[in-house]
Symmetry: D2
Subunit: 337 residues, 4 copies
């Protein structure tokens, strides 16, 4: 039984981590912290947890939390995590950071997030927490950079083909559609119900901060520089990301052959499911789960991949717990199936 | 052709007034003002108006606006309108105020809105702009207190029975369900998509600030003090209010007889439609229109009334234009059908 | 480990039963049946179950199923269950019926469901599966009439006051709002997205078939005939029921005193939670859980109760599993928390 | 004043045509027909039309309708229109067909719609009713093949670049997202609220029947065979299509230069609006209007075009009325602005 804390417990990802941990056999939630007006029972803030998580949610104090946890999840905004992570690491605690702060090289970080990185000491040791690609490194990691939601859906949808060198690496288009929780829990007119409902928009077209993250990991997979075209869209639904990916085949492959490549690539990976020929995943197949479902359709030399995740599970909290499971020698699926 | 201005042009009610006026034959929109960061084309703020309303939306300056309008719509938050209305009135302009500032007696206002009324000079002359009850006074008014959305649906649903003294005046329950635009256009976590969607709640149960407004008007209709029970609910949809009203009959009346009372009461009123026996209105019957649709169901001595309006039309902007039409001798339905 | 089957596995309630049972430690799903075009893997019909429920869903054949189950859930339309239940009972199997077929006396059933009851032999032995009221009978039951969704929310919200004889028994108004899954999984224009979304309606006003069910149970609680006023509404959301209940106090009680009555009444009941004074439950507090959350507000002699459940959990599948847990000596909360 | 009839008046497109015509100064709706159980007032079927369209909706009888109309809108399913259109044409009436029946060459029609075309006599004379490309032919047409919703958004978004020969004609990807009314008004489990809400899916990937329609028209524009990649998606909203289009520039052009090409191409076209640099259209900008709003973003040699329409207006009924306006010498925008 390990002791776990969550900083940023009142954000969507933090809340979701706690929902998962409540049913996890190997952990005890000992500390919750968040930027709140007054410290009160977590179950007073979120009545859904009444009778389940009746501990006080406190204001952020990493040193205090560090005394009472073995591992901490940071569900914080970008630029804030890198202030807290070093404190927990200094105390010898395991850190799983759900922000973008430890995902990019410092120069790239500066370009996309607008400020100098504040924890260059720990940055090189951070492991990108995508278990399907970096399982061994995660197992030994002290600090996990938990992947972004868009990157998880995109990378898992593209990696097998790049790895097999079966597509044109200069022609990768990712058209992603996301539910609204992906934008975080905050007062924002652009996220208010009456603005989002019965609406739909593309935003930050080819300029979203998740693009360099996708490029970085795909470049590692391809062993050559990758630069995708990436358009995110905001969809009037709470949860889920569906990425429609357009690739150009460089080898003659039919749908079945490509499906075999994906099934082979993800063999033994408990949270990736490849759809049978003629079927494509949809959000309802994965919502509430930690699965990434991937569907394949070949049409001439065009390969269309549909990759679906729950942005709060495999795209955030679920993957974070999956990483914890690997780091702490729990079954990889504990609490998640 | 009269010249019209809108203060609060970027709120939901203000935007809706402008949408209606664009197709109104008797007016020209000459001035738009709102609390905005920078003055720019209204059609830049709301691209839906490109090619239709390409005038600059300015920051609030009532004296400047007064020089170029005959009538002004105030689509402002409560407590702000009463700062501006007197300025327009001083300039001899007609004012239609969509806030609650001129709807209540000053002592009641203070109780429910928490501050002393700041324009007691003009308050007594304000006319409650519910044309189905106060047509003659509206025709002569200089200042209209445009009714609230909940009150419009509730009062129109109850007034005929109180007027006919056919119900127990001490037993009036109004259970109202509203779309989210009713709460206004502002950054507010409680109104954000991910909080409202797939959710439903009662709020301010029997304590909503629209309750004294309903009580005041119904008391005038009944010629006795009325105190209703009122529960508003927030529904995950953009527009519309459906009020389910529970009354106790003091006379033996069947559904058909009650329908006749309503049809008689609203004879000649172009925006109230009474459903035929066995039918009840729903939001889709009135959304986008200025109608109030009312359905009737008698069961024993219980009378259940279902009253539906579009909260932004008959519940705000549409009714405001209806009032303007009456004040300015346009056809009552101009721009609205 | 008991063997469990589900007939009607492809309906919303059936699917939800299966979702719960997947994580239940005491059962093994051995048989699934439904009215389907072709027999195939359940996880082919619902890909969300891939890797979890990979058994074939067959066409209905109760005798065949009875050979391989200890207990069966019937997630079938009204009027169909009473054809199948006797077959399972004859085989000595426990039956939990989620339809209305075993909830009413035969004469009342005929009035509201339009046909003569076809299993009058087993009807008298059926136990109404509301554990908060009938725990002891459920423990010994062979056949459970699992309560309707509206009745669960209404009865749990009213029973404590009737039991304490603290309200006027002739004055009970239940205004219920339900998500769309409550109407079942079927092709129906009235349930199609474009008809329901951005819409809201009252339906079957005081004529819904759940009204006699509520009346029957409340009459047993009150030990006098009860006849409520009941209006259901269809809300554009997938899941959840919120019932706003209006009662007249016959004793002088404030909000706190009433809360105490409810807390006392539901003491030791794991799935009823009473909100603290000044707070009211909303759908998001209970969605996905088996809780019934109840909030209390006294205003003069009016008592307003807000009662929330997830219609597919406490309103159907969750309550069904809760009944199974009691019948089979599992922990009452197994699989449900 | 011309006399107009609508066959298929109870479908979403038919209903929308009628909503537009109610406010059109040049027409009188004289006949409504639809496949219905009983003939009744159109305003009984759709109460929103009470007081506005109080004529009887009859069962289909083209010969009877032809006696009392000058022009007819056919809002019928594919394969049905071609049975009725010839009858109206024989009577010398103008026909605007909203189905796909007159959009494709007979051999292509057979491949995609599965049956032999039944009106090869009139097919060659049908004019594709996209006024931005075929204005002159529409002016002289007797039979209009009103474009599909996806094709309208796609063709208007691509045509300027093909016409300017500024893109690689072999590399055109259209990723379209549509609201649910695009699928028509019918009982269908896949379109039911609980299946569509909180869900999202790609469907008929590169196999949708609108693909050959887009290819045909773009081939005419490009004067060479075009074969696009086309993925439609179903979005949980009622109305609107947003197409994200990926093109490869063959000339060095920046965003501003491409915007100029589009502005020039659509000069004088009242219903196409090109967004300023740095802005992109969203559904709320066009919903309820007949506009197609187009946004441009160049990134390296990739051109991303975002094209938005209301699927029931510019994508169906609005465009149909626009065609009528051109055919009948009304102002092109009459009834539509």
């Amino acid at each position: 039984m390990i002791k776990v804390g969550v900083v940023g417990a009142t954000g969507y990802a933090g809340e979701e981590v706690i929902k998962i941990l409540v049913n996890h056999k190997g952990v005890k939630i000992t500390e919750l912290q968040a930027v709140i007006d007054k410290e009160e029972l977590f179950s007073s803030i979120f009545p859904v947890f009444k009778g389940k998580v009746d501990i006080v949610c406190k204001k952020p104090d990493p040193d205090a939390m560090a005394k009472n946890v073995d591992l901490v999840f940071l569900g914080l905004p970008h630029k804030v995590s890198m202030d807290l992570a070093p404190i927990f690491l200094k105390h010898g605690k395991l850190v799983i950071d759900l922000s973008a702060d430890y995902r990019l090289a410092p120069d790239v970080y500066k370009v996309w997030y607008g400020i100098e990185h504040k924890d260059k000491a720990n940055l090189p040791g951070a492991v990108y927490g995508l278990p399907e690609l970096y399982y061994d490194a995660i197992k030994k990691a002290k600090l996990i950079a938990n992947p972004g939601c868009y990157p998880t859906s995109a990378i898992l949808g593209i990696a097998p083909m790049l790895s097999h060198k079966a597509i044109n690496a200069n022609y990768i288009i990712v058209d992603s559609k996301s539910g609204v929780t992906g934008a975080g829990r905050k007062p924002d007119l652009a996220l208010s119900f009456s603005e989002v409902n019965e609406n739909l928009k593309a935003y930050k077209v080819n300029e979203h901060q998740h693009k360099p993250e996708i490029n970085k990991i795909l470049s590692e997979v391809a062993k050559q520089p990758i630069d995708i075209v990436f358009t995110p869209h905001l969809i009037p639904m709470n949860r889920g990301i569906l990425s429609t990916i357009y690739l150009k085949l460089t080898k003659k492959l039919d749908t079945k052959a490509v499906i075999d490549i994906y099934k082979d690539f993800y063999k033994g990976k408990p949270f990736v499911r490849i759809s049978d020929e003629g079927k494509l995943p949809q959000i309802r197949d994965i919502v509430g789960t930690n699965y990434c479902d991937i569907g394949i359709k070949v049409s001439g030399d065009t390969l269309i991949v549909v990759s679906c995740i729950d942005n709060l599970k495999k795209g955030a909290a679920g993957q974070a717990v999956q990483n914890m499971n690997i780091m702490c020698d729990f079954a990889e699926t504990e609490g998640l199936i």
